[in-house]
């Protein structure tokens, strides 16, 4: 077996991106698990794919569309029914300091 594909730092980085808080033990556990998963799937690297076009989907389907026609939305009560907190019809979340996400 080759050297680990996943190190501790990478596990912590991915956990931060996913907003997960991991204990040191968990970090080591995930490091081992993820490493095994990647090692297992890396068997695919043995195949020669030089002349195979990249695939983005496993189904031989394309152009599944709908027409631009309005359908009923949820009632605001239903839309908010799973929200731990709400105010004036909005979902309420902890303060966001920075404006502007990625869009």
């Amino acid at each position: 077996m080759t050297s680990p594909r996943i190190d501790e730092e990478m596990v912590r980085h991915v956990a931060t991106l996913a907003r997960l808080e991991l204990s040191d033990d968990e970090v080591e556990g995930f490091r081992t698990d993820l490493d095994m998963i990647l090692t297992h799937s890396s068997q695919l690297d043995e195949l020669d794919t030089t002349d195979v076009p990249p695939t983005s989907h496993s189904l031989p389907l394309s152009n599944v569309f709908r027409e631009d026609v309005i359908t009923p939305s949820l009632t605001p009560e239903d839309a908010l029914s799973n929200a731990p907190e709400q105010e004036d019809g909005y979902f309420k979340v902890p303060a966001v300091i920075q404006e502007g996400g990625g869009a």
Binding site: S62, V64, S73
Partner: protein, 478 residues
């Protein structure tokens, strides 16, 4: 001190004018109460499956063609993963690996010269929701409205081919013009339908090598873009001159402070981990579809300008001004269709209407005086009911009150006075009060005549027929 010049590129987000969202049938109407245009799909509920709105794809193809892009036969959607409360799925569906429009260009006109800006790509994605602050005093929470989440959004990415504020203005206006013409968006900036992001770097004047690029978000109007451009160029130049280094980062424009500030790096761990979205199948755009869309593109500015000259007998200059935006062109044609004389409507539009639109940063379709109202106003002047000076007052009043021009003329008693005995009375009074001016005119100083006309008009509270005033004055002094 080294002289630096700016190098500018744009990322432009355009909300499409489809009726429904990109992956579900929820309405995209602006201004609805919060969370009333949401469903399990755009809320990102587990187990739901998105289905693409055909119109959104078609609009992307239209835009790509209008911007001279090539359109690969196969494209698809990717997930851009990041965490933010306005993004219910914690990923945004976008295009990264197989994009719909590639390598195009847009010609802009700056100081009479044509300049080509290369377009890197045109891709389709979904918009995020909106965040507002809690209304409860002392409560620091944020509130999320997901009505906008899933609205189809096109991103147009240019190459850094611009250098000056004039280039930037020309690019923004030309792009907006095309998007309106091909009818993919109403481009309403107040409603955030059209949003500009800048890339700015600076380099030593006369050199070619690009400096480190800074991205700037949160620019809400074209004026803000220009303010930001000026500020950021200065900031980077001063930094370099002081021996510093420009960091590659995303900054936010702070309107109150009129400056950019860095986003805290922890919040923007830019690691999007793009991968093809397994919930969405490939988009196949064969040549026939592409050509069908190309054939359906409307009359663009050049053709419309020529038609205006022929059909309405307008001078070239008028035709150019009136076709700069399709909204303005449409307004003009509607006013003429409502009975306004073409040249008179054109004169009013090129002066008063365009100035107001510019000041209000409004599109013609949002203008409070509708085309039929302008036709009415022009008709009032043509029929001699009011003079052109009164008309300007009526124009201002109709914008203030929203009342129709005829209504204002009646309410304020502004009908032009063509009764020669009444006008003569004002003339006689004026002559009696201005013996000096009369003497000057009789001594051959005809310039004093204009001052007298002004006096008579003032006496009539602007209502006297100016032609009649001139005639009577000339007769009395002749």
């Amino acid at each position: 001190m080294t002289q630096y010049e700016s190098v500018i590129g744009f990322e432009v987000h355009v909300e499409l004018n489809t009726q429904t969202k990109i992956f579900c049938g929820c309405s995209t109407r602006f201004g609805a109460p919060p969370n009333t245009q949401v469903c399990p799909i755009c809320l990102g509920m587990p187990g739901t499956l998105p289905v693409v709105n055909r119109q959104a794809i078609e609009h992307t193809i239209r835009t790509a063609i209008a911007l001279n892009c090539t359109i690969p036969e196969h494209s698809n959607f990717d997930r851009k993963n990041y965490y933010y409360p306005d993004l219910p799925k914690s990923y945004q569906v976008s295009q990264n690996y197989a994009i719909t429009g590639l390598a195009g260009w847009l010609d802009i006109e700056v100081a009479g010269e044509t300049k080509r800006v290369r377009i890197n790509n045109v891709h389709l994605e979904e918009d995020a929701g909106k965040l507002v602050h809690s209304n409860i005093p002392g409560d620091e929470s944020s509130l999320v409205d997901l009505n906008r989440a899933g609205t189809p959004l096109i991103e147009i990415v240019s190459e850094p081919d611009m250098g000056t504020a004039d280039d930037a203005v020309a690019y923004m206006n030309t792009l907006k013009n095309i998007l309106e013409y091909i009818d993919v968006s109403d481009c309403n900036m107040h409603e955030g339908r059209l949003r500009f992001e800048l890339n700015i770097s600076v380099r030593e004047v006369g050199t070619e090598k690009l400096g480190t690029k800074v991205e700037i978000k949160n620019l809400n109007s074209m004026k803000t873009v220009l303010k930001c451009l000026d500020h950021e160029t200065r900031r980077q130049s001063e930094l370099l001159n002081a021996g510093g280094r420009v960091l590659q980062e995303t900054r936010l424009w702070d309107e109150a402070a009129a400056m950019t500030r860095a986003m805290r790096s922890k919040e923007v761990a830019h690691d999007y981990r793009y991968f093809p979205d397994p919930d969405l199948v490939d988009i196949h755009i064969p040549a026939e579809w592409r050509e069908e869309v190309r054939a359906s593109l409307p009359e663009l500015q050049e053709a419309k300008r020529r038609r205006f000259v022929e059909q309405y007998a307008l001078p070239e200059y008028d035709a150019k001004q009136l076709t700069n935006s399709q909204g303005v062109a449409k307004y003009f044609e509607s006013a003429v269709a409502a009975g306004g004389a073409p040249k008179a409507v054109s004169n009013w539009m090129m002066t008063e209407v365009l100035r107001e639109l510019n000041e209000r940063e409004m599109t013609a379709s949002e203008f409070p005086l509708k085309p039929a109202g302008l036709a009415e106003l022009v008709g009032l002047i043509d029929s001699g009911k009011i003079n052109s000076k009164t008309a300007k007052h009526v124009f201002a009043r109709t914008l203030e009150t929203g009342a129709a021009p005829t209504q204002i003329v009646e309410q304020e008693g502004l009908v032009q006075i063509d009764d020669s005995s009444e006008v003569e009375k004002w003339v006689d009074e004026t002559l009696a009060e201005n013996a000096d001016a009369v003497a000057k005119i009789q001594a051959g100083q005809t310039k004093a005549m204009q001052a007298l006309v002004g006096q008579v008009m003032k006496k009539s509270r602007g209502k006297a027929n100016p032609r009649m005033v001139n005639e009577i004055l000339a007769k009395k002094l002749g």
